[in-house]
Subunit: 155 residues, 2 copies
DNA sequence: AATGAAACTACTGCCGG
DNA sequence: CCGGCAGTAGTTTCATT
């Protein structure tokens, strides 16, 4: 499943991870490669599925969503149908940003966004607690978040 | 703190959230706006801090990192110095992708990436458990993850 | 807010190692 | 197979109206 990614590819991915808007030409100049060569490498990484696309970095707070909460959810009943039903229902809630199926103390981890705490309480009571099969839930309110280079620093 | 974002801006953000590589011209054509008008709106959103940039979507598995683990961390001692020390130390671990300071049962949530489970055990024992002030930890192994439109669907 | 111009960027062939 | 060169189409970016 792994793909051949050499040191030059990693350098490109590192640079793009820092700023995904940079052009192939600018990247190539900085690392002694021509613009088409750099561009073809990026394209190859996309076709290989390593680079799956570019996502927006939005400031939820400035869009009026001041509260982000992580919710660990334990299902009361865990048949295959329960998982499917739960996922179908939870993905239909607009305030849910991310649905993670996990192994451990909880079955799902949700990233939920709300305008403020009263709004979050509404989502929790009316949307989440009424989901099919929901058992225990545990909430963590986000104070601050920092994203690091991650695997590209390790690789 | 909130910024004026009208329905057209939201439509642009929604379209870009679906595919961040689309050009201002293509977006404008699709929604009956000229290319410069669309481009100026995007730029205004960037200057207002609503649109903070673009991030890469990487397939960690294809880069050789097959295991993603979420780790809830409770600190044993929670003075201001403890928080600073912990954050400084944890951000230096290359396998740590995201550091979230949260309120609730745990103090921090970490997103950690490793090549496989033995590799994760190494990170956990040698890197995480030796961090200054670490108390209880709780791990969740990621099985699958789905990102939804989120606030743009709700807004 | 549209138009037009200048610079830049993405993308395609073709050729050399 | 990978990189450089040259060329075209499309995009950004800015000045002007």
């Amino acid at each position: 499943m792994s793909v051949e990614v050499d040191a030059t590819d990693l350098a490109i991915l590192r640079a793009l991870a820092a700023d995904a808007t940079r052009s192939a030409g600018a990247l190539g100049r900085e690392m002694g490669l021509s613009q088409p060569a750099t561009w073809r490498r990026i394209r190859r990484l996309e076709e290989a599925g390593v680079l799956k696309g570019r996502r927006l970095r939005l400031d939820a707070g400035r869009l009026g969503f001041g509260v982000t909460v992580f919710l660990g959810v334990k299902l009361a009943t865990k048949g295959r149908v329960s998982l499917d039903d739960f996922e179908r229902a939870v993905t239909a809630i607009p305030e849910v940003q991310v649905v993670e199926h996990v192994l451990g103390l909880y079955d799902y981890r949700l990233r939920i966004i709300a305008r403020d705490l009263p709004d979050f309480e509404r989502v929790l009571r009316r949307r989440i607690m009424t989901l099919p099969g929901v058992g225990e839930v545990e909430a963590n309110v986000l104070l601050s978040e920092e994203r690091l280079p991650g695997p590209l620093g390790a690789a």
